[in-house]
C-alpha cells in the first residue's frame, strides 16, 4: 500500500507499519500471558513491599533492631550488674565515682598495672560508683518493655470495648461512648500521678510471684496506662467497625447465613487489622514518653531499677560537671520515640487502604 503520510509531523497513521509482513502471530504462550492480569499479591505482601520502599521506615527499623540487639546482648558481655557498686578484688572502689567514658579509677589502674583485666566503662560511672553503660542498657530495657506491654494492655481493653460498642450499636453504644467521653475529659497527667501514688501504697503481691518480681511500681504503671489510655484506642476501633458494618459485604455474609461470630472473625477484624497494628505501633512511643516523664518527676520505677527517665533525672544534679550522663539516656529516648513514630507512619502509609493507589 502507498504510504499516505506526506509531512514529517503529520499525525496521520503510517499504514505501512501495519502490513502483514511486520506481524508475527502470537504464540500460545504469549496469548496466555496476555490473559493473566497484574501479579496477584496478598494484602500483607503488598503492604510489606511498600514499607520496605520507604527509606525512613527502613532506617527506623534498623535503628530499632540495633537497640533491641544491644539490650539483649550487652548484659551477657558486660561483667557488671546494674545495681552493682564497683569493687576491685572484693574491696569497694571508692574512687570509681563519676568517671568519664572509657576511663579507669586509680584502684582499677593499679589492678591493671599488676596484670589484671578490667572491662572498660563505656559510658563512665555514676555518682554511686555503678557502671553507667549497663544502667542505660537496663533503663532502655525497662522503658521499651513498659511501652510495649502498656500498648498491649491498651490494645486489648480498647479492642474489646470498642468492638462491643461498635458492633452492638444503639443504646449500648451511646452509654459506652459517654463513659469514654468522661474519661477522655479528665486531665490525664493529674490522674496518672494521683493513681500512681495511691497504687504504689496499696499494691502488694505475694513474695516470689511474677508480679512481685516486676515490682509494684511497674505493675501500677501498667494499671495506670491500662485505665487511662485505652479510650483513644476504643474510639478508633469503634469508628472503624461502624464504617465497616455499613458495607454491603457484611449484609451479604448475613444473607449467606454466617453467624455474628463468623462475621466478626472473618470480615470485621481482618478489615480493621491494619488500623489496629498501626495505632498500636504509634501507642508505644507515647507510653515510653509518659513513663520517662513519670520517672523524671520521681514517681516512675523504684530505685535501684533504672529507667531512661530516672537516669535523666539523676543526671540533673551534676549537669554542669558531667553533661554526658544526661545526654546518653536522653539520646536513647529520642532515638526510640523517633524511630517508632517513623515506623508507625511508614506502616500507616503502607497498609492504610485509603491511601492505596
Amino acid at each position: 500500500m502507498e504510504n499516505p503520510k506526506k509531512h514529517l509531523l503529520s499525525a496521520q497513521i503510517d499504514l505501512s507499519k501495519f502490513s502483514e509482513a511486520n506481524f508475527i502471530p502470537a504464540t500460545e504462550d504469549e496469548k496466555r500471558q496476555q490473559d493473566v492480569m497484574s501479579e496477584s499479591t496478598t494484602f500483607f505482601k503488598d503492604g510489606m513491599r511498600k514499607l520496605f520502599k520507604n527509606p525512613l521506615a527502613v532506617a527506623s527499623l534498623i535503628v530499632l533492631a540495633c537497640i533491641i540487639l544491644t539490650i539483649i546482648v550487652a548484659p551477657m558481655i558486660v561483667p557488671y550488674r546494674y545495681e552493682e557498686i564497683l569493687s576491685v578484688n572484693g574491696r569497694r572502689d571508692k574512687g570509681a565515682k563519676n568517671l568519664a567514658p572509657f576511663t579507669y579509677s586509680e584502684m582499677e589502674q593499679k589492678y591493671i598495672a599488676e596484670g589484671g583485666t578490667r572491662f572498660p566503662h563505656i559510658f563512665g560511672t555514676d555518682e554511686q560508683c555503678r557502671d553507667y553503660f549497663i544502667r542505660v542498657v537496663y533503663g532502655t530495657r525497662i522503658s521499651l518493655s513498659v511501652g510495649f506491654f502498656a500498648s498491649i494492655i491498651v490494645l486489648i481493653i480498647g479492642m474489646l470495648y470498642g468492638s462491643i460498642s461498635g458492633y452492638l450499636g444503639g443504646r449500648v453504644d451511646l452509654i459506652m461512648m459517654r463513659i469514654v467521653d468522661i474519661i477522655y475529659s479528665l486531665p490525664d497527667m493529674l490522674i496518672i500521678i494521683l493513681l500512681k501514688v495511691v497504687l504504689d501504697e496499696r499494691l502488694s503481691f505475694p513474695a516470689g510471684s511474677f508480679l512481685a518480681k516486676l515490682g509494684t511500681s511497674m505493675v501500677s504503671l501498667f494499671i495506670v496506662f491500662g485505665l487511662l489510655y485505652w479510650v483513644g484506642m476504643a474510639r478508633l476501633i469503634r469508628g472503624q467497625i461502624l464504617s465497616i458494618k455499613e458495607n454491603e459485604y457484611i449484609l451479604a455474609a448475613r444473607a449467606i447465613g454466617a453467624s455474628s461470630g463468623r462475621i466478626i472473625r472473618k470480615h470485621i477484624i481482618p478489615n480493621c487489622l491494619s488500623v489496629i497494628i498501626i495505632s498500636t505501633a504509634l501507642q508505644i512511643p507515647s507510653a515510653i514518653f509518659t513513663e520517662s516523664f513519670l520517672s523524671f518527676v520521681g514517681i516512675g520505677v523504684k530505685a535501684p531499677m533504672p529507667s531512661l527517665g530516672s537516669l535523666a533525672n539523676a543526671a540533673r544534679e551534676g549537669l554542669q560537671s558531667y553533661p554526658y550522663k544526661l545526654i546518653f539516656p536522653a539520646l536513647m529516648i529520642c532515638l526510640i520515640v523517633l524511630s517508632l513514630n517513623l515506623l508507625g507512619d511508614g506502616l500507616r502509609d503502607a497498609f492504610d487502604p485509603k491511601l492505596r493507589r
Partner: protein
C-alpha cells in the same frame, strides 16, 4: 396453577427515623403482596427510593419485617428456620464494589456459603465446587486466588452471582444486579441470568429501575410506587396495556428504537416531585402527580383489584 414457590403477604417494613426530638415511622414498604412461581422471574420496577431493595431484604429477613409473612414452598419463613432457608433463598447485591470483602480471595468469597452450610467434606471437593461455580458464571479458574479489587465491575458481579449460586438455591433476589454496570456488560450479565435459569431452574425476583431490562427477563412485572405495588401483570400485557397512570408514564419514558412508534406515542411527563416517604399524601400516594386524580383518591387508598388475566391494578379511576 401449581403452588407458588414464594408467597409474600401484606409485607410491611417501617423504619424508625429520628428527626430532632420525635421519632417518625418511614414506611419504606407498606403492605406488599405478590407470588413468584417455580423457575419463573418476577420483575420489580420503580423509581429510586420507592423501596425495592427493602422489599428484597425484608423478604430474606435481612431486616426484621414490621408485619406480614413470607412463605417458601408453602412453609412460613420465621427466625427459627431462616438459617436453613438461606440455602434455598439467596441474594445478589446492587453494588458489586461494596458487596465483596476486599480482604478475601475469590475462592474464599464463593466458598463462604459452602463453609457456613457445611456443604463439602474436604478441601478437594470444596475447590472443585468453587471451580465449577466459577465456570458457570464465566470466570477464569486461574483467577480463584485473586482479590476482588483486581476485577472489573462485570467480573465482580459474576463473583457475587457465583456466591449466591453456591448453595444451589431455588430462589434468588437480584437487587439491581446490572445497574452499576456498563450497557455492553449489562447485556452479557442479563443473558447469563437467563442461561442459569434455564440450566438450574432457579426463580428470580429481579429488581431494576429500567423497564426495558425487566421486560426482557421477566415473565411478570410488578410496578412499585412509594412502598406500594400499584400494578402487576404479565410482562407483555403490562407493556401493551398499562392501566395505572404511573405505569403509563414509566412506559412512555422508555426509549424505543423505532421512530414511527416514538412519534405516534405521547410522552407523559409527571409533574411535581416524589413526595417524601416521611410525609405521604392521604389516600392514594400517587394522587399528587396523577392526571386522573379525583376527590375519592384523597380520601381512600385503592387496593389492588383484578382486571382479568392476572392483571392487578390499584387505581380508582382506570
Amino acid at each position: 396453577m401449581s403452588e407458588p414457590l414464594v408467597e409474600v403477604k401484606n409485607l410491611k417494613q417501617y423504619f424508625p427515623v429520628r428527626s430532632g426530638m420525635k421519632t417518625q415511622m418511614l414506611k419504606a414498604v407498606d403492605d406488599v403482596s405478590f407470588t413468584v412461581g417455580q423457575g419463573e422471574t418476577l420483575g420489580l420496577v420503580g423509581e429510586s427510593g420507592c423501596g425495592k431493595t427493602t422489599v428484597g431484604r425484608t423478604l430474606l429477613r435481612l431486616y426484621e419485617p414490621t408485619a406480614g409473612e413470607v412463605r417458601f414452598d408453602g412453609e412460613l419463613v420465621t427466625d427459627k428456620n431462616i438459617h436453613a432457608m438461606r440455602k434455598q433463598m439467596q441474594m445478589v447485591f446492587q453494588d458489586p464494589y461494596s458487596s465483596l470483602d476486599p480482604r478475601m480471595t475469590v475462592e474464599d468469597i464463593i466458598g463462604e456459603p459452602l463453609d457456613v452450610h457445611h456443604l463439602c467434606s474436604g478441601r478437594k471437593e470444596r475447590r472443585e465446587k468453587i471451580l465449577e461455580l466459577m465456570s458457570y458464571v464465566g470466570l477464569n479458574a486461574e483467577h480463584a486466588r485473586r482479590y476482588a479489587h483486581e476485577f472489573s465491575g462485570g467480573q465482580r458481579q459474576r463473583i457475587g452471582i457465583a456466591r449466591a449460586l453456591a448453595v444451589n438455591p431455588k430462589f434468588i433476589v437480584c437487587d439491581e444486579p446490572v445497574s452499576a454496570l456498563d450497557v455492553s456488560i449489562q447485556a452479557q450479565v442479563i443473558n447469563m441470568f437467563e442461561e442459569l435459569q434455564e440450566k438450574l431452574g432457579v426463580a428470580y425476583l429481579f429488581i431494576a429501575h429500567d423497564l426495558l431490562v425487566v421486560h426482557h427477563i421477566s415473565r411478570r412485572i410488578a410496578v412499585m410506587y412509594l412502598g406500594k405495588i400499584v400494578e402487576i401483570a404479565d410482562a407483555d400485557e403490562l407493556n401493551e396495556h398499562p392501566i395505572h397512570p404511573y405505569t403509563e408514564s414509566l412506559l412512555s419514558a422508555v426509549p424505543i428504537p423505532d421512530p414511527e412508534i416514538t412519534r405516534a406515542r405521547q410522552r407523559i411527563i409527571l409533574e411535581g416531585d416524589v413526595p417524601s416517604p416521611l410525609n405521604m399524601p392521604s389516600g392514594c400516594a400517587f394522587r399528587t402527580r396523577c392526571r386522573y386524580a379525583t376527590e375519592q383518591c384523597t380520601r381512600e387508598c385503592p387496593a389492588l383489584s383484578n382486571r382479568g388475566g392476572g392483571h392487578q391494578v390499584a387505581c380508582w379511576n382506570r
